[in-house]
Symmetry: C2
């Protein structure tokens, strides 16, 4: 059974539980995950899929346009996915499938991350058949939270590039460089060493800029005594990595060292206790307790972590809002940080997988503060 | 009057014509355009705006979260835009504004490119006030089609980087390199020479791969006798550029030369006749007529061109489907091409602006086929 078959089978279990005859899928990451097609999707959200409850082939249908037709048909060979390419709208294509009975008579689910415009088109196209449409939130996204072996292999490959980039950039950085110069070198290294692209625009934030968790790398120059926050990731084999290290431009003062050690302790304490059944809220509380004990209560202005997979922000969240128990196979970041406005910021981020009885860290780079 | 004020004033004219008291805006490119904030938006679609029909300040409201609060408040100083940052949802923020009378009593427009989930949240939050919500398609996008002087300056800056990158890459390319190696060098040059990023992942497609208009750069190696399609653009000062050149890896054969000359003639004929009042469909027909006369009827499998601005694909389209007259200030690509499956492809793309009585090309690179 292929990974695609296994993922579609998991979706069918959910369809049955939800009383849906089929699910209409438009989200590009969901399509990548369900099909497990390699190197066929190029970032354009030009495709649609209908996964039906039927295990008899073809029980899943993919609609694309002529530009992608041959590559997708080749990728789908031997699978239970039937690819068709046409210039008609997805709505007309869906209505035609439904008319032909592909979805049975039960309701068709649509994910509520489609645009309002597309939803109106779907309802209009299906309307004459009076076929019930039901909205669902984060249905495939929820399934994607637990990673399979193929995904873990890809996630580790993405992280290996990211660790190598960190090693490279710490040898490259020198006082007087701009944040943007460091960012360009960091990103160029990743794409020259196997990355298809970036997980997100890299954060390279020195001194007071590091106090902003989402700083944009700019013209600020690295100065001795500052700490530099590097938050970056590679996309490889369709999957993202995400890591943060805070490095010293020369030896930092005692106050910065103290903050760094607290963040490190929070990171390592969480990584030691994460396991299935713990909630995201409990993980966040664990980190905050460590930080508060070190005198940094309230200094972490963001959530502790998030899922990572085909997208760099996925489920589950490690945050106060997530009171669901973590599942085995969840891949999450652990990224405690402390921030002092107009002064400095510290963040230390790994990512890894919740295993049967603990947490396996993918990130291999040291937790010691690297001094340039 | 600032560019932001002028753009918001143009939107207010549309609101009056549409009978709307205000418009709720979530699309990131629309927010960039309406605010003209520089370097504040970082790609996260975390913000919302309500532009009301009222010219009395504050007549426009921007809602963001704490991460962006200080930068946005600084950028908005002296404008008619009131920035607020909170952890509440956009829907609750909007409902509160409406409750306070900011939108008057007329209907609130929402653009139909918001997600279905957000639409449901908005209607629910506003519901208790029974405030009418009306859906609108491409309202701000339509206004963005005609560029102002500030935008033209930025678009030319983006294209200058792109022309320089073409000059660089033609000196870099050699037979035996992979498409991906060329792509990495091309993109690294752009970001090292002033680009904030790329307009889109560059197409580098050699030989038969060039027959696919949306090929993904891969492991194929450049061989003598092939032609190589390079389609790429830089993002600079918030705006995109877009150009395509087809270069020869050594002297191509007569058949390729003939196709190239036909494409060049189609490009130059369109650029000579484009002006306000002409429709996108007429422009496409012009190109197809030239190609057909040269024996290449039906070989252009895509539209002739598209608008370019904050996004690389904007309005107006130069395609059969667009029967609206082009307006002065429209910035469009002109990109005729011919494609021969499992053989080769040729495309020649400039971009420029529809002026009062013609078309000004931004692209400075030669139309002669560059031979490596």
């Amino acid at each position: 059974m292929s990974y695609s078959d296994m993922r579609i089978a998991r979706l069918r279990e959910r369809l049955a539980a939800e009383g849906l005859g089929a699910l209409y899928v438009r989200n590009l990451a969901n399509l990548c995950w369900l099909t497990a097609f390699d190197g066929v999707f190029d970032g354009e959200a030009a495709h649609a899929m209908l996964v039906t409850g039927s295990q008899a082939a073809p029980g899943a249908f993919l609609h694309t346009d002529s530009r992608y037709a041959s590559a997708m048909k080749a990728a789908a060979r031997g699978s239970g996915i039937q690819v068709s390419a046409s210039g008609t709208s997805h709505a007309e294509w869906l209505a035609s499938l439904v008319r032909d009975g592909a979805a049975g008579t039960a309701a068709i689910g649509v994910e509520d991350d489609i645009t309002l415009a597309e939803y109106r088109r779907l309802v209009e196209a299906l309307g004459s058949q009076a076929h019930p449409v039901q909205e669902r939130a984060r249905l495939v996204l929820g399934l994607r939270a637990a990673k399979d072996a193929d995904e873990v292999r890809r996630l580790k490959a993405a992280q290996a590039i990211t660790d190598a980039a960190f090693s490279h950039i710490t040898g490259f950085i020198a006082p007087g460089m701009t944040e943007r110069e460091v960012q360009i070198e960091l990103e160029d290294f990743m794409v020259r060493h196997g990355a298809e692209g970036l997980s997100f625009p890299s954060i390279v934030a020195t001194g007071a800029n590091g106090a902003s968790p989402h700083a944009v790398a700019g013209a600020a120059r690295l100065e001795a005594g500052q700490v530099l926050v590097l938050d970056f990731g590679a996309r490889a084999q369709g999957y993202c990595s995400d890591m943060t290290r805070t490095v010293g431009i020369g030896e930092p003062d005692a106050r910065i060292r103290q903050a760094y050690e607290a963040v490190r302790q929070a990171n390592e304490e969480v990584e030691a206790v994460l396991k299935p059944g713990m909630t995201g809220a409990e993980a966040q509380e664990c980190a905050e307790t460590v930080l508060a004990a070190a005198g940094f209560a309230g200094a972490m202005v963001h959530s502790l972590g998030h899922g990572v997979g085909i997208e760099v922000h996925e489920e589950p969240l490690l945050s106060k809002k997530n009171t669901e128990p973590l599942l085995e196979g969840s891949v999450v970041t652990v990224e405690p940080g402390v921030y002092f406005e107009q002064d400095f910021g510290i963040r230390l981020e790994d990512f890894g997988i919740v295993t049967r009885d603990g947490f396996e860290v993918f990130t291999q780079s040291t937790h010691d503060m690297v001094i340039i």
